[in-house]
């Protein structure tokens, strides 16, 4: 079954047609990447799926039914977004950020269980629990951002440039975490500028340029496609 199905999605910012009739789907348990250069419309797709940016036409279905309009209703349907540049609640502690992630859970024990699950993925967070999240290092912030999204135990996780600004070693950690998350049964939609590594771990990938898909295919295969290089560096 499709976890996410998008058909003919269009988004306008004023006079700019940022997303131009894009269609794709993500099956349950898949990792799907959308790669492309800056300004191609990747983040816009993510914000639209999360309900923050309004689309100007198109169909979005989540687990077989139409997506609600408000962000908090979308979260309730099992979709969580880790946005570009993390957007942590910087004045709040690590613990409070995690509690916010589980805002919809009324059961305290469930919240604690979810937190334990996150600590298993990222043990460092347990040590930082009381620290203000704004004072964490870049890598730790990314781990917290992913954990915060996981706290709502989503069925579909959207990751927008999770490796932006990270050193190679941390890029590896993030990518391996994504694989682990998928193995636990989650569906992942990944948007990356860091195309090679993202496609390597993806079941399928799409190359986007100027608001349109240029090409799609199995991830590792697409990673070697010269078309990508062209999309990024011209040809």
């Amino acid at each position: 079954m499709n976890a996410l199905r998008v058909e003919d999605l269009n988004v306008h910012y004023g006079t700019i047609h940022a997303v131009q009739g894009i269609s794709f789907s993500v099956r349950e348990g898949e990792i799907v990447s959308i790669v492309g250069s800056n300004g191609a419309g990747k983040s816009t797709i993510m914000w639209t799926l999360a309900g923050v940016v309004a689309s100007s036409g198109g169909i979005v279905e989540i687990l077989g039914s139409p997506i609600p309009s408000k962000p908090h209703e979308i979260v309730a349907r099992g979709l969580a977004l880790v946005p570009e540049r993390r957007r942590l609640f910087s004045a709040l502690s690590v613990q409070e950020n995690l509690i916010m992630g589980a805002y919809r859970r009324k059961n305290d024990q469930k919240v604690i269980d979810e937190m334990e699950r996150c600590f298993k993925l990222f043990p460092i967070l347990r040590e930082r629990l009381k620290q203000r999240s704004g004072t964490l290092s870049g890598g730790e912030q990314q781990m917290l951002a992913i954990s915060r999204a996981l706290m709502s135990s989503p069925k579909i996780l959207l990751l927008d440039e999770p490796t932006l600004g990270l050193a190679p070693l941390l890029v590896e950690t993030v990518m391996e975490t994504i694989l682990r998350i998928r193995d636990e049964g989650m569906t992942v939609l990944l948007v990356e500028q860091n195309a090679t590594r993202a496609l390597e771990i993806s079941d399928r990938g799409y190359i986007i340029e100027a608001g349109r898909f240029l090409k799609s295919g199995p991830g590792p295969e697409l990673a070697l496609d010269p078309e990508i290089r062209k999309a990024y560096l011209g040809g």
Partner: protein, 290 residues
């Protein structure tokens, strides 16, 4: 003399702080100066007055009724005058002008319907005084001060310890991300206005008992606004510190310098803070990045 002045200053400052909390709460979440807060305080005082005189309720019930009444008024105010502006992300200035319109509207509506008469609360506390050496303090002043301290401390705990409180702080940090955590923003903002209105109710009752109840009594909150700016708009401890500081400074200026200069001094402080320290004493520095 000095001690007496200090204590008077603290008690006035306590009431300033109660009022400043409402400004700070709304500012922290919606980033605008809600000048209608003064009118809500005034209406809270009228609600309390009606309960006390028409229904002859006791102090506790009057306070509770006034908190509830002002809280509801504040929520309605947000729904009718601010919510659509907020949803279309209008500049904070538009919200402020709308708030100013609300203040003028509500105040003159009371003036036109209830009238400009001054009303007094029944004497809940009598004229009891406590003697401390040479100085004497009225029970009301002590009560107001202690109540202000307790209420603000309570709010502080609520904001820091409860799930809703954390959500409010998360909203202050990043509204969009707050909604992506599953928070219904409309509901969250209604809670913020309910809290601000509740504090307005308390302030209205204390203000009405200490002075009198009349349509323009809300303008005193200009001072509360100054207190909020001094402490740092959007900061709760700031509202307390700013309120107490302004109360003390004002009382000292009027006692030792001149009572005429008191208000000039306060407004000059407002301008000075806005120009040189817009984040106040305890407010957080906003990042330089545009």
């Amino acid at each position: 003399m000095f001690l007496q002045t200090l204590i008077t200053g603290l008690s006035i400052g306590g009431i300033y702080a109660l009022m400043a909390v409402g400004y700070s709460l709304v500012f922290s979440v919606l980033n605008f100066s809600n000048f209608a807060h003064g009118a809500v305080i005034m209406l809270g005082a009228y609600v309390g007055l009606a309960l006390a005189t028409k229904l002859s309720l006791g102090f506790g019930l009057v306070l509770a009724g006034s908190i509830a009444g002002a809280g509801i008024i504040a929520v309605l105010n947000e729904r009718l005058a601010y919510s659509s502006l907020r949803r279309r992300k209008a500049p904070s200035l538009y919200l402020m002008i709308s708030a100013m319109g609300c203040a003028v509207f509500l105040e003159n509506l009371v003036y036109a319907t209830i009238g400009s008469r001054f009303y007094a609360f029944p004497e809940f506390f009598g004229r009891q005084v406590i003697n401390l050496g040479e100085s004497s303090i009225s029970l009301l002043d002590v009560g107001a001060f202690l109540f202000a301290l307790t209420a603000i401390l309570g709010l502080h705990l609520f904001i820091n310890r409860t799930r809703t409180g954390i959500a409010i702080r998360a909203g202050v940090s990043d509204m969009t991300m707050c909604s992506l955590m599953g928070v219904d923003l409309d509901r969250l903002i209604a809670i913020v206005f309910l809290l601000a209105g509740g504090f307005a109710g308390v302030a209205g009752v204390f203000l009405g008992i200490k002075y009198l109840v009349y349509p323009t009594m809300g303008w005193v909150t200009n001072k509360a606004y100054i207190a909020a700016v001094i402490g740092g708009l959007g900061s709760l401890p700031g509202a307390l510190v700013g309120g107490l500081l302004l109360g003390i400074v004002e009382t000292f200026v009027s006692t030792y310098v001149s009572s005429v200069l008191r208000d000039v001094f306060s407004f000059s402080m407002l301008i000075a803070f806005l120009v040189w320290r817009p984040n106040g004493l305890l407010g957080q520095d906003t990042e330089e990045k545009v």
